[in-house]
């Protein structure tokens, strides 16, 4: 797949590019800030943009805003946002806005396979959400009575669902059979009052929509 990377730290940018190229992907553009990123996207229309949240000039949330822009103008380009710390601003909106979006903490890159998997998923129009962000959202304060009714196992499954993993991915993670995972998913969605769907990212959307509802 064709990738554009936006990261203001050159060494880190080259490291990421190297990782992706090692895995056989083509890095077609490298940007140091959001403006350059948007130009490159328009130029190359890549499958995936890997974007740092904080970039010049203000080092605030330029990356997230650029991501929203890309999702709006180039729906075919998936955006994987990388952050140094957990942040939920705009994230829920972007994830629930039709897929093709992922959000990971930077150190998640060091689990190379997971990272490449997430990149692939996002490029294909799926979702990827950092487990810590999911934990933050799920553990969000408020009257989360329904979540309290989940069993520990169901909680684990929900967390992995929210990360954007497929049933088989969850099964691999938890050393369960896919069938068992499906049972858990059905139970979770029932307890949360959501309709069951096999569609991969619709499940995430459902979960996140619910999370957003209880958060707001």
């Amino acid at each position: 797949m064709r990738v554009v990377i936006a990261e203001d730290t050159v060494l880190l940018r080259e490291g990421l590019a190297g990782l992706l190229e090692d895995a056989g992907h083509e890095v077609v553009g490298r940007a140091g800030d959001a403006d350059a990123l948007l130009t490159l996207i328009g130029e190359h229309e890549p499958d995936l943009a890997v974007v740092d949240v904080r970039m010049p000039p203000d080092y605030d949330d330029e990356g997230t805003r650029a991501a929203a822009e890309i999702r709006r103008t180039h729906p075919s380009t998936g955006v994987l946002v990388l952050s140094q710390h957990i942040e939920t601003r705009h994230i829920v909106e972007l994830v629930t806005d039709g897929g093709g979006f992922g959000y990971l903490l930077k150190d998640r890159v060091l689990d190379v396979d997971d990272f490449l998997d997430a990149a692939r998923r996002v490029a294909d129009g799926g979702s990827a959400l950092d487990p810590q962000v999911v934990a933050t959202l799920i553990g969000a304060p408020g009257p989360v009575r329904a979540l309290g009714e989940l069993t520990p196992r169901e909680h684990e499954v929900l967390t992995l669902m929210a990360e954007g993993r497929t049933n088989s991915g969850i099964a691999k993670r938890l050393w369960l059979t896919e069938k068992t995972v499906e049972t858990h998913v059905r139970a979770i969605l029932m307890k949360l009052g959501l309709t069951v769907s096999d569609d991969d990212h619709r499940r995430v959307l459902a979960v996140l929509a619910y999370l957003r509802a209880i958060k707001g």
């Binding site: 730290t9 060494l11 880190l12 490291g15 990421l16 190297g18 990782l19 090692d22 904080r54 080092y59 605030d60 949330d61 140094q84 710390h85 957990i86 942040e87 939920t88 601003r89 930077k106 150190d107 890159v109 060091l110 190379v112 933050t136 553990g139 969000a140 304060p141």
Partner: protein, 664 residues
Amino acid sequence: MSRVLRPVACVIAATAVATGVATAVLNVIGEERGVDHALGLIGAVLFVISVAAPASVGLFVALRQPTNRIPWILLVGSLSVAVVIAASAIADLALEGDRSSTLGAWAALVSQQWPVLFLWPLALAYVFPDGRLPSPRWRPVGALVCLACSGLSLMLLFVPESDTDYGQIASPMPFTLPRSLEPVFWVFWAGLLASLVGGAVALYARYRAGDAQRRRQVLWLAYGAVLVPLWLGGGSVVARVVGSSDDIDFFGIMILQVWPAVAVAVAVTRHGLYAIDRVLNRTLVYVVLTALLVATYALVALLAGLVVGGSALSASVATIAAALAFRPLLARIQALVDHRFARARFDAVRLLRNFLDQVRDGHAEPEDVGAAVSLALADPSAEVVFRLPETGAYANRHGHLIELPDDGRDRVMIGRDERELGVLLHAPGLPPDLVRAVVDGAAVTVELARLRVELRLQLAEVESSRARIAQAGYAERRRIERDLHDGAQQRLVTLGIVLRRIQRSLPRDAIAIDPALDAAVDEVTAAIADLRTIAAGVRPPRLDEGLAAALADLARGATVPVEVSATADRAPPEVEAAAYFVACEALTNALKHASPTHVVVETARENGVLRLLVADDGVGGAETGGGMGLPGMADRVAAQGGTLAIDSPPGAGTRIAVQLPCAS
């Protein structure tokens, strides 16, 4: 100069009065001899008064201010009037016996100088009270007045015949003016009349241009100036109706001589002219004081002598008694004299003393001294400005630094022991002694007020500098947090990626090094996690998303259930940070010391205030002074200008309520 002038003044005054008395005696004699128009006894006495009045007032002022021109006008005027009237009496007496008497002829000639009756009041009208014309523009007028008066006088000196009750007496002068020059005489006469009107106008001009004080000083003389034309005009009308104007002339002259003298006396004694009333006041006070002290001494000495007998002992006792009596007596007599002779000053001083008492009793703020001074001076524009002891800058009662306004108000320094405490601004023309008394009476309060103002200013400065420090501290925390995330953490991630790439590029048979690289990456990951924790301690990045998000993270990390109910309203970053760290410390305290089962954290934003409540159901009994992080919390809140209240009854949990002002 004054050494000569004072005796000269005495001589002139004495001569004038003596001449006046002699004239009166001559008139009384004349009446007995049947001289026409001679003054009777009452008339004679009145005449003496009309000479003595300007003479004595002139002498009184001249003795204190010998170089002042005004008293000399009075002195010379009284003498000239006395001499002319005396000449008239002598002429009558001499001519009654012998129409061709040489003495009579000379006296009759001198008596022709009747304009002197007008001259000194006229001079006074032009130059009272400062001895100068109202303005330089009056100089031509002054010159014309001098010309008219001296011309008239000279012509009268050389008239061919003197007009007397005994007919026309030929002048004894070797040289006389021809009758053909009579029109010139009438020109001068008209000039004198015009000068009288001019004098009235000059007084009016001075009254108009003067401040309140000057107006009061001039007022009485101005009344007189109105009377003179009235008398000249009215007198001739009455003369035509009644037939004889002698009596009217006489009383007119009386008034003309006495009135200006009285007017000057009033200005001097009542309205602070030449600052003589203060001298008078002092004199009166010390005369009475001395008398009372002597009386005290005598009485005590007498009584002590009766009781103990010894002279030395009784003298000592009397001395002590007199010494003890000095201060209270002085104050009492001064108050009495002021009350009687300087009412405004007396009232002002009493008002300020009452104000000081109110300040002492806590019923009034010393900063309000300006209002009290304004009342005491009866001057709404009066204002007291405080001089700050540290900086020497001026501040108003609200503690705002100000420049001394240059708006035409007079400035008087308020001081104590040579130190400037403040400045009194007041409308120009207030009686200087009243202002002085008010300034003295207000000094203590001003001293008090300026210290308070200074204190308040410094406190405000400390508060704002503390807020600035807190803000700088917050900015610094933010910078450190950013540096940790974007610097060290980025490098570690880069290092991890490099390790992973090495690992993945190794040939399959290098599997032995794989676990070591895994371990290295794990270390890097752990280091990143550590850094993230440290950065969050410095400043939780979630604060960027709002206090609610940051508090939610905080709650999640707690070991007991923490219920967060936070407003989504945003406050300034440093206020939110302060609230977060207070909540953080409160939570840490609760978990550490209070063994709660449940903690509630609430925030609300209302009326420009961010409220934070951290309540637990722990053991309670927390104290502000205890080493439980409470002082730190209080400092943090105070730095944002907020308040912190702790309610922690033993056994009933702890509630920490914080209010942080946030400008919105």
